[in-house]
C-alpha cells in the first residue's frame, strides 16, 4: 500500500512498529502494577513474554513496512534504511531483554519497569531512525536518552550506577542543547524542519553557502557526536558504561549507538549531503580521533568492562569512516558493521557480567584468568566476540571492517582506511590480552554461577550470528547495500556520492534479484 500523510491516520501505519513496542511497554507496566503484591518475585514470566512478543511484533511490522508499503516523504520515512535500522535495533533489544531476564533476576532489579523503559527506549530509537523531521529527530533522541538515563541509574543499590546515570544525564542534557541549537539554526536557515525540504533548500543554495546553515549543521553534528561518543565528545562514555548495570551497558553501547548512527547517516550522509563541504572535514577529524584515542587508552585498562567501553568508542570511530565516505556504500557498510557490532558487543558485555558475578564485582582482567578452561563455552563465546571486535576472520567484525575499508577507499579516503587498520592493530593488544588471561593463565577456582537459559540462548545467538555474518555475509551485504541506497529523499535529488566508485548498486540489484 501507499501511505498518504494527508491523512493523519496513516501515521499510525507508518509508526506501527513504534506503536507496538510502546503498547507493549504499557502492557508491561500494567501487568507489573497488578501483579505486584500477589507475586513476591519481581515481575514474573509474563513481563518478559510481553516484551519479547511486542518486539517480535515490531520486527514483523517493520518487515511489512519495508517490503509492502511505500510512502511520500513526511515526518516519518518508510524506506529500506529505516527497516534495516529497525531490525538491528529490535534485534539488539530482543537480546537485551533476554539478558535482562538473567541479569535482573540475579541483581534483584525491579524488572517490570526495567522492561518498560527498555521497550520505550527502543521505541525512541526507532523514532530516531525513521525520523524525516528534525523535530522528530529531537524527540526520538530525547525519548531514547531519557529512558536510557534512567536505565543507567537503575540499580539503586549501587552508587556506581547512580553516578553513571548522573554523569550520563548531565552531559547528555548539555549535548541536547547543542542538538537543539543546531535544529534551530537549520530551521532558521531553511525555514523548515522537514529533512526533505531542508535538503531541497540546501541543494538549491549550497552554491552561495550559508553560514547559518553551516552553523546548524555543525551544532547538530556535535550533538550526534556526543550520542555516538566520538572523540572529543566521548568522555562520559567509559564512566557511564562502567557504572551502568552491565546488561544496560550492553544495550546502551549497542542500541543508542546504532540508533544515533543510523540517524546520523540519514541526516548527514543523505539529507545534508549537499552541505557535505561543511561537515565532511569535521567528520574526517572525528573519525581519526575516535579511532586513535580510545584504542590507546584502552591499552592501559585493567577493568574489562571499562576496556570494552573504550573499545565501543573506538568502534564509533570505525563507523564514522562509513559516514565520512558519504556514499551509499558507506551507509551500507555502517549498517552492516552496526549489525555485527550489536551482536559482538552485547555478547561481550553479557559474558563480562556472567563472569563478574552478583553485584558486578569481578571485572578486572585478573578475574578472567583461566576462564577458557573453567567455563569452555563461556570462554569460547568471549573468544569469538573478541575476535570479531578485533576484526578477525571469519567473523562479522572482519567483514564489517572490510566493508568499511572498501567504503573508505571507494570514497578516496585512504588515510582513514590506513588509520582504521593501524588502530585495529593497537586494539589487538588489549583484546588478545583478555584471550591470554582466559587461556594462558591459570586462575583461582571461583564459582561462576551457571547462567540461565535466556543467557545461554542469547549468547548462542550472538556467537552464531557473529560467525554467520563472517562466513556467509552475502544476504546481509545485499540487504544492507540496498538499504544504504534506499533512503527517502525529496524526489529528483540524486545522492551525489553514490555515483562514485561504489558498486553500481541499482544495476546489480536488478541483475541479481531473487
Amino acid at each position: 500500500m501507499t501511505l498518504d500523510y494527508a491523512s493523519q491516520s496513516h501515521y499510525l501505519i507508518a509508526l506501527l512498529p513504534e506503536g507496538i513496542v510502546t503498547l507493549g511497554a504499557f502492557a508491561v507496566l500494567l501487568v507489573d502494577v497488578f501483579s505486584r503484591g500477589r507475586d513476591s518475585g519481581p515481575g514474573g514470566p509474563w513481563l518478559e513474554r510481553i516484551s519479547v512478543l511486542s518486539l517480535l511484533g515490531a520486527v514483523a511490522a517493520s518487515l511489512w513496512l519495508g517490503f509492502a508499503v511505500e510512502a511520500e516523504p513526511g515526518l516519518v520515512a518508510v524506506d529500506g534504511f529505516r527497516l534495516s535500522g529497525n531490525l538491528i535495533l529490535l534485534g539488539g533489544s530482543l537480546l537485551a531483554v533476554l539478558y535482562a531476564v538473567d541479569y535482573g533476576h540475579r541483581e534483584g532489579l525491579h524488572i517490570g519497569e526495567f522492561y518498560a523503559l527498555l521497550l520505550l527506549a527502543t521505541a525512541g530509537m526507532m523514532v530516531l531512525v525513521g525520523a524525516q523531521d528534525l523535530v522528530l529527530v529531537f524527540l526520538g533522541l530525547e525519548l531514547m536518552s531519557i529512558a536510557v538515563y534512567v536505565l543507567t541509574g537503575f540499580n539503586r543499590r549501587d552508587p556506581r550506577s547512580a553516578e553513571a546515570g548522573l554523569k550520563y544525564f548531565l552531559v547528555g542534557a548539555f549535548a541536547s542543547a547543542f542538538v537543539l541549537y543546531g535544529i534551530a539554526l537549520l530551521y532558521g536557515a531553511t525555514g523548515s524542519t522537514n529533512l526533505s525540504e531542508v535538503m531541497g533548500v540546501v541543494t538549491a543554495r549550497t552554491a552561495e553557502g550559508s553560514v547559518l546553515l553551516a552553523g546548524g549543521v555543525l551544532l547538530l553534528l556535535i550533538g550526534f557526536a556526543y550520542k555516538i561518543a566520538a572523540v572529543p565528545f566521548h568522555m562520559w562514555t567509559p564512566d557511564a558504561y562502567e557504572g551502568a548495570p552491565t546488561s544496560v551497558t550492553g544495550y546502551m553501547a549497542v542500541g543508542v549507538k546504532a540508533a544515533a548512527f543510523v540517524a546520523l547517516l540519514r541526516v548527514f550522509s543523505v539529507q545534508l549531503a549537499p552541505a557535505a563541504d561543511f561537515w565532511s572535514g569535521v567528520v574526517w577529524w572525528l573519525a581519526m580521533l575516535t579511532m586513535i584515542v580510545p584504542n590507546l587508552v584502552a591499552l592501559v585498562q585493567n577493568n574489562v568492562k571499562r576496556m570494552l567501553a573504550y573499545s565501543s568508542v573506538a568502534h564509533a570511530g570505525y563507523l564514522l569512516v562509513g559516514v565520512a565516505a558519504g556514499t551509499a556504500f558507506g551507509r551500507a557498510a555502517s549498517l552492516f558493521y552496526l549489525a555485527a557490532y550489536t551482536l559482538m558487543t552485547l555478547g561481550a558485555f553479557a559474558v563480562v557480567y556472567a563472569v563478574a558475578g552478583k553485584g558486578d564485582r569481578r571485572m578486572t582482567l585478573a578475574d578472567f584468568r583461566g576462564l577458557g578452561w573453567r567455563r569452555p563455552a563461556l570462554g569460547f563465546a568471549l573468544l569469538v566476540f573478541l575476535l570479531s571486535l578485533a576484526g578477525f576472520p571469519p567473523t562479522g567484525g572482519f567483514v564489517g571492517k572490510l566493508f568499511l575499508l572498501r567504503a573508505a577507499i571507494d570514497a578516496d579516503q585512504v588515510s582513514l582506511a590506513v588509520t582504521l587498520v593501524l588502530t585495529s592493530l593497537i586494539s589487538y593488544y588489549y583484546y588478545f590480552r583478555v584471550v591470554w588471561k582466559m587461556y594462558f593463565e591459570e586462575g583461582a577456582e571461583q564459582a561462576i554461577a551457571s547462567p540461565g537459559r535466556a543467557f545461554r540462548f542469547s549468547t548462542a545467538v550472538c556467537t552464531g550470528g557473529v560467525l554467520l555474518l563472517g562466513l556467509l555475509p552475502g544476504p546481509a551485504l545485499r540487504a544492507f547495500e540496498r538499504a544504504g541506497s534506499e533512503v527517502a529523499t525529496s524526489e529528483a535529488i540524486e545522492v551525489p556520492a553514490a555515483a562514485t566508485g561504489a558498486p553500481t548498486v541499482g544495476a546489480e540489484a536488478a541483475g541479481s534479484g531473487p
Binding site: 507496566l29 519497569e113 523514532v127 530525547e142 525519548l143 547559518l212
Partner: protein
C-alpha cells in the same frame, strides 16, 4: 516602545542569567533563573509568540523551577556549599569558553546577513486570522500529531523514570 522593552528584557535576561551563574547560594540561583525566564517570556511576546510566552511562565517558571527549588530544599542545600562556585583557572576557562562561543555565534549571525531571513514578520497574517492559541494548536494536532504523541510517551518515561529513581532504597 517595543525596542525599549526588547532591550529591557534582554538586559534583564542576561544580567539575571549571569547572577544565576555567579551566585553561590542555590536558592538565589533558582530565583535569578526565574527572573531570566520571565524576561524571556517578555521577549517571546515581543516576538509574536504569545502562547509560548504563557507556557514559558506557567510550565518553566511555575512548574519546573519550583521542582528545582523543592529538590534543593529537600536536600537541605539552602546555604552555599563551600567551593560550589569554581574559582581561579576554572572560572577563567569557563569565561573564555563562553566568550569564544559568543564570538563564534556573533560571527555566524552578524557578519554575514543571511539572505533567507525576510525583513518582516511572517506570522502577522496567521496570528490575525487564528489568534495566538489556535495558530499553534492547529498544526500541533495535525502536522505534528506524531511528535505530540511521542512527547506524551516521553513524559510517561519521565514519570516512570522519576518514580524508579527517586523511590526509597529497596530493602
Amino acid at each position: 516602545m517595543t525596542d525599549f522593552l526588547f532591550f529591557l528584557f534582554s538586559a534583564m535576561a542576561v544580567l539575571s542569567a549571569i547572577f544565576m551563574v555567579m551566585q553561590s547560594n542555590p536558592v538565589a540561583s533558582v530565583l535569578y533563573l526565574v527572573v531570566t525566564f520571565f524576561s524571556l517570556s517578555g521577549l517571546f511576546v515581543i516576538l509574536d509568540a504569545h502562547f509560548i510566552a504563557a507556557v514559558q511562565v506557567i510550565v518553566y517558571a511555575g512548574a519546573i523551577m519550583v521542582l528545582f527549588l523543592f529538590v534543593i530544599m529537600l536536600l537541605n542545600l539552602g546555604s552555599a556549599e563551600v567551593g560550589d562556585l569554581r574559582r581561579g583557572l576554572s572560572q577563567l576557562l569557563a569565561g573564555s569558553v563562553a566568550v569564544a562561543l559568543v564570538a563564534v555565534f556573533a560571527r555566524l549571525f552578524l557578519v554575514e546577513t543571511d539572505p533567507a531571513v525576510p525583513e518582516a514578520s511572517a506570522l502577522d497574517p496567521l496570528l490575525e486570522a487564528q489568534g495566538a492559541v489556535a495558530a499553534v494548536a492547529e498544526p500541533l494536532f495535525t502536522r505534528y500529531l506524531v511528535a505530540f504523541e511521542v512527547t506524551s510517551v516521553l513524559l510517561l518515561v519521565a514519570v516512570v523514570g522519576a518514580v524508579v529513581l527517586a523511590r526509597r532504597r529497596a530493602p
